[in-house]
Symmetry: C2
Subunit: 304 residues, 2 copies
């Protein structure tokens, strides 16, 4: 499946709206120290697919007929997710962590601003994400829903979610041997934030519990498929397309899906997870799950 | 002013309740990776004065007659503040930041768990603070109040608050020359989180806007006095009492209040700020501001 013209138009339009909103998350009047502001903007406004915030908007639109209104209401959640994702990349790239010099074809944050400012930029983005998220209440999302989203963001991005997955990954460097271990790391490191993204969109559109559960199942499966595809692309992709060195997993002796079960099996797993993701959406009474299904499909055959 | 027996009893009782609550912020069933959990607990359960969480409880009790109920409702906010404070210490102590080896008489987090795990432990505590804070809704605090507290925590601890102050401090290492600059750093680095603490207590007891403003003014002044007293103690205190090396500011060539205006003037400033703090509470229609005033007084003459 390739990205249809229609989906391409949709993704471009949503990405542009996300970019615009991200440029406005720090009110200029509030006087953030300039180096800190520059360091945060350097990574937050570095482009990228904006997959997670687009999934927030697409999920909100899947629940509610009025797509414009749904994505407006969900935008603070979309920005918060991207801020969390960005902070995690900044901290992961630090010398003490993965020690990466390049990200999206540019020097990593600490290479430009130094380790101390990169740590602060990450802390700042992480903290301010909760401020931006809370502003959804001003856009008409009921306080209970905003609070639920805040609590869930802390869980899916925190010690039981993304941060926990990162810690598992570090512990695992002493030797991941089973697929179960690897899957647990990926589920937390990557899937949890994607699962949160679609749940958050659901909350913005006041989805019912069944719909939230269906969205979460979709997100977990898509997130795992996405991570396996990343492992595959690290082996088979080109540096030009990816904007980062290829075969870095091999060099760092990371245990990946292709390493454990081979390329073919890894590709099959991406397909079956994508199918499971889409199945989760059927029968959940969503107003229109088409975009979410299209996005999941487009991730299946991506080359970057 | 010295700590009265009565105040001592109060502080001990509240500290014990805070310690108990802090031991329960991570539900055991949720399966946090053990090294991460250990690293977070190492710093979170390291004792200390617990000034910020006690101020949360005391502010809640100042607004509401029923002290037991007030402090129960405010406890999630109290824990969240201490988690934020703890994460900031872990990250500040990192080699890339202040490079401190000891804190409260023990090796710092990264000396025990390594830099990478210390970064993650900080990220985990910071993120989970918002989860714990949100749980106040289950204790009967209205969702709107919990959401307001969450938004304020993100602001006072974030890029306009504590993280911003830290960045200002780093920029200032190239040369703070004026009292205004130094005060701005301290206000953000230290006062903001203390101002949040008393506001959060106010929210837990559904304080009115005037009361919240009075509590915030109290907190800002107490926070600044507290920081100046820290500068003074670094010069005049003993390593045994402080649990960390003295005169570290001098060695690190940090610009402090005593450096800029001398010891005597610094001490006068602590007194006048404490008076201003207490004045802020009068006329705000608080049910009983006595404990807050006593706590501010006890900070004035502390030796650690």
């Amino acid at each position: 499946m390739t990205t249809s013209v229609d989906l391409h138009t949709y993704l471009t339009a949503r990405r542009e709206r996300v970019e615009k909103a991200l440029r406005e998350v720090f009110p200029p009047a509030w006087g953030i120290p300039s180096t800190l502001r520059d360091a945060m903007d350097y990574s937050l406004l570095a482009g990228g697919k904006r997959l997670r915030p687009i999934l927030v908007l697409a999920a909100a639109e899947a629940v509610q007929d009025d797509a414009e209104r749904a994505s407006d209401r969900a935008m603070p959640f979309a920005c918060a997710v991207e801020m969390i994702h960005t902070y995690s990349l900044i901290h992961d790239d630090l010398p003490a962590m993965d020690n990466d010099d390049f990200r999206r074809g540019r020097p990593t944050n600490h290479k430009v601003y130094g380790d101390a400012m990169a740590i602060l930029a990450g802390d700042g983005l992480l903290t301010h994400a909760f401020h931006v998220l809370a502003s959804a209440a001003k856009g008409g999302v009921p306080a209970e829903r905003v609070l639920a989203a805040s609590e869930e963001l802390a869980m899916f991005a925190g010690v039981f979610g993304m941060v926990g997955g990162q810690a598992l990954d570090m512990e695992g460097e002493q030797g991941v041997t089973s697929l179960g271990q690897l899957e647990s790391i990926h589920l937390h490191k990557t899937s949890d934030l994607i699962a949160f993204s679609v749940r958050a969109g659901g909350h913005a559109s006041e989805a019912g519990d069944d719909q939230l559960r269906a969205l979460e199942r979709f997100g977990k499966n898509v997130g795992l498929a996405f991570q396996i595809q990343d492992d595959i692309l690290d082996l088979t992709g080109t540096e030009e397309k990816l904007g980062k060195p290829v075969k870095s997993d091999e060099r760092q002796e990371k245990v990946t899906y292709p390493f454990l079960i081979g390329l073919d099996e890894s590709r099959k797993r991406v397909s079956s997870l994508t199918e499971e993701a889409n199945e989760a959406l059927l029968g959940a009474g969503l107003s229109d799950p088409r975009r979410l299904i299209e996005i999941a499909g487009s991730l299946l055959n991506r080359d970057h």
